[in-house]
Symmetry: C2
DNA sequence: CGTACGATTGAGCGTAGTCAATAGCTGTGG
DNA sequence: CCACAGCTATTGACTACGCTCAATCGTACG
């Protein structure tokens, strides 16, 4: 029960009752690994993710998959400008979503800007960063999206890494094994801590930031 | 003079007079390798590329560069939704640009959709495709954007590959050498033809499409 | 209790990167 | 006119990062 206890401690998006069909607050909870909409299908109305974690992905015909973005609470999914969904959206946790109310122009521009900015940053990551740089970037991004503000204010940030190693791999353009090895290297170097593979603590965020940004002097130091 | 003759034959964006400061049609021609706007600087008004080829890129602090998109005639550059430019825009040829007139909603949505679609497709390419798959995808994309319609209607498509091997590498997340090797493999396999490295003819577009899409059976066949 | 799945770890391999040399072309200046 | 520098492309030899394959462990679940 470590898993569940940890989830609760971190404020994971678990429903009051654990049955996935439970409705809370007259809103629907979606179970983990539920497809919200699928790439290529008719566009779905804009949604706002109230709680949980969603992966947006695209696949090649032979099954190779690339997760384009990981979306945390508050952000929009299904920003579609054409007739069809560009990506598949899949929940990674219990999720609460609601139809996005009409957006003001400024808010809309902000949401579009954030989305494009993130995809473009991810393109640099995929095209030009090494495996440890990618994993460090990912850990920091997820901490930023999913660590509770209260936890962040204290010295050490701990958060739930909703993604499996396989999903991290599909996000970062790596394999499961490489992601796992990078995590272990970071742990041995004292940069992050975890007992359960999903519950991660940032121990040296500054060093992680340096690695994520590609400042190479940190690669060989810190007994990596 | 092969270079210049070929450029002219393909309708490259050369000014009537070769001096870069020449003005034609009361519009400005920008010389190749001119920076139009720079990443992080104050946002520039929307521009339409009338003629030529522009690269949008971002860089890491140590100089590693990722070209996010290659823009051909008719498309917009400087679709900015925030206060600062997300990317650097640099001409790769003589270019003609003009302020984009006010866009209708439908047109705007279309432009945004195309932009996001392209970046997301590029993310799959960077994260999940092999080097030959990337190069094949790039060749087809550039043929689509830069081959003249007249040339396309005939059996064989020939076009000017405005990018150097180095720029291809920065676009595809590879190195100069790997790009060059892929081009040579494709040439030996009879998929593309070129004497000048910039002037490329598609000889077996169907096979290139299959490789670009990642249908693996084509990798070992066709004496690659 | 058995099956399934995720994570980890090791051994070996292969794709793409690094380093280096060369050729070809362009533009410059003596 | 030629020598030279600078740049792009190509090619070869070697390296190494990350992938593949395989085995093991722990936990969840029916």
């Amino acid at each position: 029960m470590l898993q569940l206890a940890s989830l609760a401690a971190l404020g994971c998006a678990l429903p009051a009752k654990s049955h996935p069909d439970t409705r809370v607050d007259s809103r629907e909870f979606l179970a983990p690994r539920t497809v919200i909409f699928r790439e290529g299908f008719d566009a779905v109305p804009q949604l706002r993710l109230t709680d949980g974690c969603v992966a947006l992905s695209r696949s090649l015909s032979d099954g190779r998959r690339q997760i384009i973005d990981i979306v945390g609470p508050g952000r929009l999914i299904g920003l579609v400008f054409g007739e069809h969904n560009r990506t598949t959206a899949e929940t990674l946790t219990y999720c609460q979503i609601e139809p996005a109310r009409e957006l003001g122009l400024a808010e809309f521009r902000g949401a579009v800007n954030e989305m494009v900015l993130r995809v473009e940053s991810h393109a640099i990551l995929l095209g030009r960063k090494t495996a440890p740089e990618r994993v460090a970037s990912a850990i920091l991004d997820l901490a930023d999206q999913f660590a509770r503000p209260r936890a962040k204010r204290k010295g050490t940030t701990t958060f739930n890494l909703y993604l499996t190693r396989g999903e991290m791999a599909d996000w970062l353009g790596l394999t499961v094994e490489t992601v796992s090895r990078c995590f272990q290297r970071f742990r041995r170097a004292g940069l992050v801590g975890f007992t359960d593979p999903q519950i991660v603590t940032l121990l040296q965020p500054t060093v992680l930031q340096a690695i994520a940004a590609g400042r190479r002097q940190f690669d060989n130091s810190n007994n990596l």
